[in-house]
C-alpha cells in the first residue's frame, strides 16, 4: 500500500518532478502511437499526478483491494495520462506504454477495464463517469467502506446533459466521499468552449446543484494538494474542484492550441517538447 503525506516543500518538488516525468512519458507514447489526445492529457497531468502520488490510497500489487480510493477518468480520451500514472505507480512495466493504440495492446485508445488492471471502468463516451462515480461512492458508503472516489471531467464534457443529472444526484444524496475535478482548459475539438457552447458560469452552476466548489490554478501543485485535502474535510455535500488549466501545458508549441486536442506529436515536435521538458533524449 502506498501511504502518502505531504509535509514539506520537498514533497511538492517531488510531485512536480513526477508530473514532469509523466509529461515526457505521455509525449513519447503518443508519438509512438501516431495518434491520440495530447492537449487534454497534458492539461490534467498535474492534477492526476497529485492523485496517484499523493492523495489516492491504492495498491499496484493488489489493484482490486477493496479499501482503495477510486479514480474514474470520465474524460476517457486522456487515456495516455492514466496509463502513464499506472505505469509510474507500478501497475505494469513502462515498456507497455509504447504499445498504446496498437492492435492487441491492453492500452486501448480509450481505457478498457476489461483489458487493463488499474482501470476502474471503461470510459471514452463522455458524460458517463460522474454517474459511475456517484454509484461507486454510494455503494462504498452503504457498505461502510471509507474509501473516496475521484472523478476527472473535461470542461467541454459539461455540455453533456448527463453530467447535470449526476450533479443533481450527488447533491441530493449528499455524496461527500466524492470529489469531482474539472480540467477547465477552455478548449474542445471544434474551438474554445465559449464559442462552441458556453459553459460559464461554471462555479455558480455546480454551487446551484448543491456542491462545495473549490477553484484553483490546476498547475499549482501546492494549490492542488491543498484542494484535495480540503475536499476530504467537507461533510454533507460533494466537492468539485474547478481547476483552471492550459491545454497542452508544459510544451510551448502545444499550449492553448486547439489543433493538438486529438493530434500526437511528430518527430520534430517530440524533439522540441522533450528539450523543453528537460528530458535526456
Amino acid at each position: 500500500m502506498i501511504v502518502n503525506s505531504i509535509t514539506s516543500k520537498r514533497d511538492i518538488d517531488f510531485l512536480k518532478q513526477k508530473a514532469r516525468e509523466a509529461r515526457i512519458e505521455i509525449l513519447k507514447m503518443l508519438h509512438r502511437a501516431g495518434s491520440g489526445h495530447t492537449g487534454g492529457s497534458l492539461s490534467a497531468t498535474d492534477l492526476v499526478t497529485a492523485l496517484y502520488f499523493y492523495k489516492l490510497k491504492h495498491d499496484p500489487i493488489n489493484p482490486s483491494w477493496n479499501e482503495r480510493d477510486r479514480f474514474i477518468l470520465s474524460k476517457g480520451h486522456a487515456a495516455p495520462l492514466l496509463y502513464v500514472m499506472l505505469a509510474m505507480s507500478g501497475y505494469f512495466e513502462k515498456d507497455l506504454l509504447m504499445t498504446l493504440r496498437k492492435i492487441g495492446s491492453p492500452l486501448q485508445g480509450h481505457p478498457s477495464s476489461k483489458l487493463l488492471k488499474g482501470v476502474e471502468v471503461s470510459t471514452g463516451s463522455l458524460g458517463q463517469g460522474l454517474s459511475i462515480a456517484n454509484g461507486l461512492a454510494l455503494g462504498l458508503r452503504i457498505q461502510g467502506i471509507s474509501s473516496r472516489v475521484y472523478c476527472l471531467l473535461g470542461d467541454g464534457e459539461m455540455q453533456e446533459g448527463q453530467i447535470w443529472e449526476a450533479a443533481m444526484t450527488a447533491g441530493h444524496y449528499k455524496v461527500d466521499n466524492l470529489c469531482a475535478i474539472v480540467d477547465n482548459n477552455g478548449l474542445q475539438i471544434d474551438g474554445s468552449c465559449a464559442d462552441v457552447m458556453k459553459i460559464e458560469p461554471i462555479f455558480d452552476k455546480w454551487r446551484a446543484f448543491g456542491w462545495n466548489v473549490i477553484e484553483i490554478d490546476g498547475h499549482d501543485m501546492n494549490a492542488i494538494v491543498s484542494a484535495y485535502d480540503l475536499a476530504q474535510t467537507i461533510k454533507g455535500k460533494p466537492t468539485v474542484i474547478i481547476a483552471h488549466t492550459v491545454k497542452g501545458k508544459g510544451v510551448s508549441i502545444f499550449e492553448n492550441k486547439v489543433e493538438y486536442h486529438g493530434v500526437s506529436p511528430n518527430d520534430k515536435e517530440l524533439e522540441t517538447a522533450l528539450m523543453e521538458l528537460g528530458a535526456n533524449g
Binding site: 477495464s113 471502468v121 461502510g144 446533459g161
Partner: protein, 332 residues
C-alpha cells in the same frame, strides 16, 4: 452493513410471504418482479435497487419501503440511473435498475453499451411496460424495439419471462449470474402458463410439446397464445409443438433445433417488432444451420397506439386465432 429493515418496517410489509410461489397465479410480470425483488432483498444485503421516478409502476416500491438505505430514486434521469447502477456494481453490490422498457433500452442505450456491457458490470436492467399491452398510454410508452436494442450489444443476456412464476425464478437467477442482464417485463396481467414443477434455467428453453407439423417458438405473454393456438390447430389435425424461449440471448440452440426436428413450418411469436427480436434471432439461427419455412408473428414494423391491452393484441394480430389462421393459410 446496517441495511436490514427495522422491525417496524417489516411489520408494514405483510402482504407477501417470501416463500410464496407464484406458480399458477395469473399476475403481471411487473408484480412478480416487485415481489421477487423484495424476497431477494430479505436474503441478500448486496441487492440494491434504482428507479427513475416510476417505482409505483415498476413495483420497486415494495423493496424501496422495506430497504430504504438500499434504494436510490434518481428522479427522471434514466441515463444517470444506468451509470449509477454501474458504479454500485463496481463497489461489489448487485444493482437492479428499473424504469419503462423504452427508456431503459432506448434513452439509455449508449450508457448500457459503454458503461454496463463493455465493462461487463454486474447490473440487472429490469424494465417494465414492454410491448403493446402497455395499453392506453400509447406508442410513446410501448417498447416494441427493446429486445432488438439489447440483442445487438455484446455481453448482454436477455430474459423475457412468460408469466409471474417464471419471472419470480428468473429474477433470482439473474441475481446469481454475474454480468449484465436485461429482464423484459409487462404491465398487463399475464396468464399463468408454466407448470408448478418448472425449474427456470438461463441456458434452457422450455418445451411444452413436440409437434410433427409445426413448431411455435414463443416468448413472453405470447407463450400463452401459442399454447391456445396449438390446441385450436389440433382440432384441424395439425400437430403443433410449443417452445417457450425465455432467454433470447444467448439462445438455447440445442433445444430449438431439436424442437423443430421434422416440422414443415416454424412460427415465432413475440410482443415485439418482427425486426430484431425473437423472430430475427430464430431466423438468423435457422437460415445458417437448418433453413426452413418461417412465419414471424409480432408487430410489423409499426408503432403501437392507445387502446385496451386485449384490443391491441387483437388489432396487431397477436392472438391465438391470428396465429392459427396464419399457420393454416401457410400450410394450405
Amino acid at each position: 452493513m446496517a441495511n436490514r429493515p427495522s422491525d417496524i418496517e417489516l411489520q408494514n410489509i405483510k402482504d407477501t410471504n417470501p416463500e410464496d410461489t407464484l406458480a399458477g397465479k395469473s399476475i403481471a410480470t411487473r408484480d412478480a418482479y416487485g415481489a421477487a425483488l423484495y424476497e431477494l432483498g430479505m436474503r441478500d444485503e448486496r441487492i440494491v435497487v434504482l428507479d427513475a421516478d416510476l417505482s409505483c409502476s415498476t413495483k420497486t416500491i415494495k423493496f424501496a419501503k422495506a430497504f430504504p438505505n438500499r434504494f436510490f430514486n434518481v428522479g427522471i434521469s434514466e441515463q444517470d440511473m444506468v451509470c449509477t447502477a454501474g458504479g454500485l456494481a463496481l463497489s461489489g453490490l448487485i444493482p437492479f435498475a428499473s424504469t419503462f422498457a423504452i427508456f431503459e433500452t432506448g434513452r439509455a442505450w449508449e450508457q448500457v453499451r459503454q458503461t454496463i456491457a463493455y465493462s461487463f458490470l454486474n447490473v440487472k436492467l429490469a424494465a417494465t411496460h414492454s410491448g403493446i399491452t402497455v395499453g392506453e398510454d400509447g406508442a410513446s410508452h410501448q417498447a416494441l424495439e427493446d429486445i432488438a436494442l439489447m440483442r445487438v450489444i455484446p455481453n448482454m443476456t436477455i430474459i423475457v419471462p412468460s408469466d409471474g412464476y417464471e419471472t419470480q425464478q428468473f429474477v433470482k437467477l439473474a441475481a446469481e449470474y454475474y454480468g449484465p442482464v436485461y429482464i423484459r417485463l409487462g404491465r398487463a396481467k399475464a396468464p399463468a402458463v408454466m407448470p408448478s414443477n418448472y425449474k427456470a434455467d438461463i441456458a434452457k428453453a422450455y418445451q411444452f410439446s413436440k409437434g410433427s407439423d409445426v413448431c411455435i417458438i414463443a416468448t413472453g405473454i405470447m407463450v400463452s397464445e401459442a399454447l391456445k393456438a396449438s390446441a385450436l390447430l389440433a382440432n384441424d389435425g395439425i400437430s403443433t409443438g410449443v417452445l417457450n424461449v425465455p432467454v433470447i440471448k444467448p439462445l438455447d440452440k440445442e433445444t430449438i433445433l431439436s424442437a423443430i426436428e421434422g416440422c414443415r413450418l416454424v412460427v415465432t411469436a413475440e410482443e415485439h417488432s418482427v425486426i430484431g427480436g425473437l423472430g430475427s434471432a430464430i431466423a438468423e439461427l435457422l437460415s445458417e444451420i437448418k433453413p426452413i419455412k418461417m412465419i414471424r408473428i409480432g408487430t410489423q414494423d409499426t408503432f403501437g397506439c392507445s387502446g385496451k391491452p386485449d384490443e391491441l393484441l387483437q388489432s396487431f394480430g397477436l392472438t391465438s386465432q391470428h396465429i392459427t389462421n396464419k399457420i393454416k393459410s401457410t400450410l394450405e
